[in-house]
Amino acid sequence: MTEGYLDMCRQVLDRQVIDSNHIPCGKVDDIEMNGNKITAILIGNGVASERMPELARAVSRKIFGDRVVRVPWSEVHVITHEIKLKSRAVDLGLDERQGWVFELINKLPLAWKK
């Protein structure tokens, strides 16, 4: 991947991120750069809320928290309409199957069934 030729704003920022099993695992909420090279993509409300006006940011962090997950650029496999990663969501700390929302939904009958 030749970073310099990417129109970053359009092709990376705010794009859907999917893991190696095609499971959606967030959006590119921000990009970490070193000079003109992308070094990592950042996912999570901690950075997404940075992009909002001050009051909205405070409200957003109250509701959705301020977690940030850093995914090194070397983890990026292909860029199409989506950003596909080389690893599984669970190995990158992007798995939704944890926390109280998961515990709640998983308790309901037939939650494992399609």
């Binding site: 705010d14 859907q16 959006k27 909002m52 309409h81 929302v101 709640l104 939904i105 399609k114």
Partner: protein, 412 residues
Amino acid sequence: MKKILEIFLGILTAMGGFVEIGELVFSLNAGAKFRYSLLWVVVLGTVGIIVYGEMCGRIAAVTEQPVFTLIRERAGYTAGLGTLIAANLVSLLTCTAEIGGLAILIKLLFGGNYFLYIVLVLVFLLVCVWFMSFQVIERVFGLLGLLMIVFVVAGVYLTQDWNGVAWGFVPSIPAVETSSDYFVYAYFVVALTSSIMLPYETYFYAAGAIEDGWNPSDITLNRIIVIIGFSLGALLSIGLILIGGSFLKPLLIEPQLPGTAALGPAIVFGKWGLIVGVLGMFFAFAGAAIENALTGAYNFAHFFGWSWGKFRPPKDAPRFNLAWIVMLLAATLIILTGVDPVQVVEYSIIFAVVILPLTYFPMLLVARDKDYMGHFANGWLADIFGWLYFVIILLAALAAIPLLIITHGGEG
């Protein structure tokens, strides 16, 4: 053969899912107030939803990207989030109105306690969405919503002045008694257009296309379903205007409750007409309640990038599943406060038109972007209609709130 069946079912589903409580109320009232002179608005709105439905279906089939993914990419985070909040509030209000409408219908058939029925409706909807697959939901509520055809038959039966009906399809300003009636007429033009072009229809349609696993080979399927299905759906709306204009207007009945609509089939076909009409409305409203709850969840998931979809087991998409449950619970809480569902409908329809341009503009930009869509990008026809309708909904959006205030919600 399988393809033909799929097209046939798709058309019927699109038709049966066309009408919900907002469109029912505004179509009936349009007839009762202005006889046939708003029929042209049905055509205007239907062509509009065909144009944008086709675009979002095509985008979903080609790129597998749903609407709120596009809105975030094109409008940016903050503006996109604003659209998300507005869109989900409208879906919540629409869902609220449908649940209230459902409880009214059950009460109409069996008598008894309205608030108890609200809770029963909630349980019914929760069970349906949780246990049914996307395809089953789509088919059951879409196909049983077709019982509403009884309104078209009744409307045709009750109408004698077909010359007047024909003139109704020509845009014109009717002769009215006072000048404030002109504003009421304009209010109905905007509200009826909005009720037909409700933005949730495109969010849900695009998400459904991805749920059904569409790919670029389904583009023709998409076109046929959108054009024929939505056109046939418009017949339901026309049938309701005919009932309003031919039956309610001469009797000076101003329909306030969804049940008034059932008077049409009841007069023509007696008891069974009433029952079929009420059942048709029940499945149409229930379908719309489910679609709006799911739409809220789809929108959240598509904006924040969550795992989503009925095609995944709920445990693999926990946030998405919690989101539609919360939508249904919140809608039920609102209607339990005792607000009038018809009042909620009016506000949801008027606020919906305000967010239409915010939804349709990013969609238009993406659909005509050759970098994104390749050779599936808009041709000249889709482009012309896309821009034309963007201007129309922009004007409608600017006029909506002032008209709501001037006419006191269409009362004059």
